[in-house]
């Protein structure tokens, strides 16, 4: 591919959104563009947005699928509020995304799809390309489909396959526009179509045609460059939250030396963890697709009883079903990791949209006094470390732990500095091997004074045969007990032992050290909150940011931190669930800021809101 011959402009950041029909391959196109961008060393953040329907009717608004990628020559925190560039593969994609474009944005449209019929499908009486309604944008009409078909004319592929390669034409064009290295994409195509050499050739040719088109046509006068970002040295890969979480669970198995048993029932947006883990059997990972969520958590608990790292992965509706078994795990005091990749509820809600509305469910959604540990990852790559932390707490303190991911971090991606395996936490556990009472008996509920954990005595250990169950147990012996004083003691002990789990103090970021307003978040809102705080600081305002990873128990220094500010603002993608906890616990009248649209906060939304609080109190 020829050397650049056009004017080259430097940019510090770009947000591109690839949008098309569900069948147009936009996720793959976005993924490849992201990979090329990663190779170049830009910082990246991505966000896919797809319909819950597998293939909604072609060309309709509900069928639009998009992928947004934000890349920059500095470190970024979000996939970007609004795209600078929209690639619209059909009228539906244009219509669905237009309202989010700022004036001046580039729009690359596939004119071949702007037929009368397709326009009518989405309610355009006349083509927006012709009626002047797009005048405030820089529109680049490209006959993507026909040029692709033309470019492949000599390759002998069928018309359908040729048309289907149009996403590679678009990718080629965009790769040219933003000076992306493309070798990894060519290699990818060879891998993907390894059994179909004709398709490898077709897709490569389409990519090349798109690149050449950019190079030669006068429709594109400028080419852009975004220089690599300054990032800590090391080896990186781009990773989604669900992938990172899966790898974190495998890491926990490796670092604990335990077999990992995953019980799961498919549910969006958690299924990818089941898919990913099922590929890693060589690490002693067993995955079971159970008959329902109750069986999934039951099997995981049974495996934990037998000495495995028991894990179950699901979304909110599944956690609701698992509730009774989680309470049993609390009574049994066995390690168990429950992953909730939250989605918009209640009920089926919006399965492919994000929300943080399961915090109450995680903290309180069980019968009886049933405390457990809850933690939440803040970004896609952080899911790796959060999964290890969840396993660490579960194994060390013999308790169920709920890991609250959400659709936004689960499907978003970012570059990840690969860790050195031997620097990950050591999760070695010791099973009970012999009786623990002075009289030679085995007491299954005699606690370790430091961790307050009871012994993990797995079946197969001679001399430690014992029975456990959901009935209240006498302290130490674990025998069935209806004694009032014992129950009071056990309920309080179960609460106290969770409360006593040492968790790191919460850090506050406030470069000015003079902020009077603190914004407190948890989980996936870290990116947009951080971006909003940066923007405010760049404009000379002061604001402090603190972010919670541990939601139960809460960091010991939290009360003191909160007391240091005039105002504490708590933005959440729910109606104020953390805010209620903070109010109840710390008697601070926090300012909740809530959004439940199924979409992540934009940095701009938070910036406006926080500016108002900072300026007007």
């Amino acid at each position: 591919m020829a050397a650049p011959s056009k004017r080259v402009e430097q940019l510090d950041r770009v947000v591109i959104r690839f949008a098309g029909d569900s069948g147009d391959g936009m996720q793959l196109t976005g993924d490849r563009f992201t990979s090329e961008t990663a190779q170049l060393g830009n910082d990246i953040s991505t966000l896919p947005n797809f319909p819950a329907e597998i293939r909604a009717p072609a060309g309709t608004l509900p069928g639009v699928s998009s992928f947004q990628v934000h890349f920059a020559d500095y470190d970024i925190l979000t996939p970007g509020d609004a795209p600078n560039v929209l690639v619209a593969m059909n009228p539906a994609a244009l219509k669905a995304n237009l309202s989010e474009l700022p004036p001046g944005a580039d729009i690359i449209v596939n004119t071949d799809e702007f037929t009368k019929r397709n326009l009518a499908k989405v309610g355009y009486p006349v083509s927006p390309l012709e009626d002047g309604s797009l005048d405030e944008f820089a529109v680049h009409p490209v006959a993507l489909t026909s040029m692709t078909v033309g470019a492949l004319a000599d390759l002998g592929v069928g018309k359908k396959d040729a048309e289907r390669a149009k996403n590679m034409f678009a990718l080629g064009l965009l790769s040219w526009m933003y000076s992306r290295p493309f070798e990894s994409t060519l290699r990818f195509l060879e891998r993907k179509f390894v059994k179909r050499p004709d398709l490898v050739a077709a897709n490569k040719a389409a990519f090349q045609a798109g690149w050449n088109y950019g190079e030669t046509t006068e429709a594109f006068a400028v080419r852009y460059e975004v220089k690599p970002a300054k990032m800590p040295p090391g080896t990186y890969r781009n990773i989604t939250g669900n992938q990172a979480l899966s790898l974190g669970l495998v890491a926990a198995a490796v670092r604990s030396g335990l077999p990992l048993f995953l019980g799961a029932y498919p549910i969006t947006p958690a299924s990818d963890i089941l898919h990913e883990l099922s590929k890693h059997k060589r690490f002693g990972v067993t995955t079971m697709q159970a008959e329902d969520e109750i069986a999934a958590v039951g099997a995981a608990l049974g495996a934990a009883y037998g000495g495995a790292l028991g894990v179950t992965t699901t979304s909110g509706p599944g956690v609701a079903l698992k509730s009774e078994t989680i309470s049993l795990a609390i009574a049994l005091e066995l390690p168990l990791v429950i992953v909730d990749v939250q989605r918009a509820g209640p009920s089926t809600g919006m399965p492919t949209k994000t929300e943080q509305a399961d915090l109450n469910l995680a903290l309180f959604g069980r019968h009886g006094e049933a405390p457990l540990a809850v933690i939440a990852p803040r970004s896609p790559s952080d899911c790796f470390h959060a999964a290890i932390e969840a396993a660490r707490i579960a194994l060390t303190y013999r308790t169920p732990v709920i890991l609250l991911s959400d659709n936004y971090v689960a499907n978003g991606s970012e570059p990840w500095l690969l860790p050195a395996v031997d620097e990950l936490p050591d999760l070695t556990v010791t099973f009970a091997a012999e009786p623990n009472a002075p009289d030679g008996r085995f007491l299954p509920y005699l606690r370790d004074p430091e961790t307050m954990a009871r012994p993990w005595a797995v079946p197969g250990t001679p001399g430690l045969e014992h029975r456990i169950g959901g009935l209240e147990k006498a302290d130490k012996t674990g025998d069935i007990s209806y004694d009032p004083a014992n129950h009071e003691f056990m309920v309080r002990t179960r609460a106290a032992r969770i409360e006593a789990i040492p968790v790191p103090d919460v850090d506050v970021e406030d470069p000015s050290e003079a902020a009077r307003v603190l914004v407190l978040g948890w989980g996936s809102t870290y990116g947009p909150i951080g971006a909003a705080c940066r923007a405010l600081r760049q404009r000379g305002l002061t604001i402090a940011q603190a972010h919670l990873r541990h939601l139960a128990p809460l960091p010991a220094n939290l009360g003191e931190v909160l007391a240091g500010y005039d105002k504490v603002v708590v933005p959440e993608m729910n109606l104020g669930q953390l805010a209620a906890v903070i109010r109840a616990r710390h008697l601070i009248d926090v300012v909740p800021f809530n959004q439940v649209s199924g979409l992540p906060f934009t940095a701009a939304t938070l910036e406006n809101m926080l500016e108002d609080v900072v300026k007007n109190g």
């Binding site: 990979s35 990663a38 190779q39 060393g41 990894s184 990032m231 800590p232 040295p233 090391g234 080896t235 990186y236 890969r237 781009n238 790898l247 495998v250 198995a253 490796v254 030396g257 077999p259 048993f261 890693h280 059997k281 060589r282 690490f283 002693g284 067993t286 079971m288 159970a290 008959e291 109750i294 069986a295 999934a296 039951g298 099997a299 608990l301 049974g302 495996a303 934990a304 009883y305 037998g306 000495g307 078994t325 049993l328 690969l418 860790p419 050195a420 395996v421 079946p459 197969g460 250990t461 001679p462 001399g463 045969e465 014992h466 029975r467 456990i468 169950g469 959901g470 009935l471 069935i480």
Partner: protein, 339 residues
Amino acid sequence: MADPVTVKLSSKDFKSDQEVRWCPGCGDYAILAAVQGFMPELGIPRENIVFVSGIGCSSRFPYYMNTYGMHSIHGRAPAIATGLSASRPDLSVWVVTGDGDALSIGGNHLIHALRRNVNLKILLFNNRIYGLTKGQYSPTSELGKITKSTPAGSADSPFNPLSLALGAEASFVARTIDSDRKHLQAVLRAAAAHEGSAFVEIYQNCNIFNDGAFDLVKDPSTRDEHLIRLEQDAPIVFGPDNRYSVVYPEGGFGLQVQEGGTPIVHDATVDDPAYAFALTRLSGSDLGTTPIGVFRSVQRPSYDEIVRKQVLDARAQATGTPGEMFTELLHAGDTWTIL
């Protein structure tokens, strides 16, 4: 299940220190004694035996066995036991459940455990009533059953647990009776020897809420007219002087009882479940002619075995320590390095 290590134990070794708290006269006592008496035969060390139960009178069972045990939650024992068995093939895992526990709240887990052929020995104590919650009708109670929750008679037809198990692709299906220790132990022996799920229905008398539910097949004065003892390779005959035979009906489906005629010869290893199913249909909910013994015992790979083989094969193909393998996994795909 692991190769039995021969250890010499007696029934006393299987008694836990917990006081047994069923109602006096409850059929559960007899079953407990029979199981404790049978366990030494297995030759398996106590620590390798686990009893997992749900909730119900019957589900208190694990507390009384001096083995490992878990009294879990209502209906979920098969699911919990599946995770245990699949991850610990060295253990002998037994599930104890009731008719409400297994067939009502836990119906889904039961059928899937059987379908998967998990290596579990499932003992269903069928008293045709909810004992622990004090006498409501259960999914095995006869239509029209008058109980506390159905003063005008229950309106739903019962399950035949064995028909259900066969419908769920069970590879081993048997029935026995609490009071017939010899028969009960013989069935346990066959169940224990079976690789895969073994489903055993045990008729159990709840003398408080459903007394005499099985008298027709237990009482010496009526038993012979109604009870059919299945023996492998033996003709299926019963009644005084073996008056009745089980035969293939002329021009019909299934099996039927008739006086005289040429009885069929019982073979639990017949691959087609239709045969065992036809046997289970001989007894209606009135227990008119009720077979006991092993209905079906066929071989197919257990879930545990398949799952374990996948893990072992994957391990065998892998090279390096887990840490090295994991480093490789982290670095798989498109990576880039910043110096």
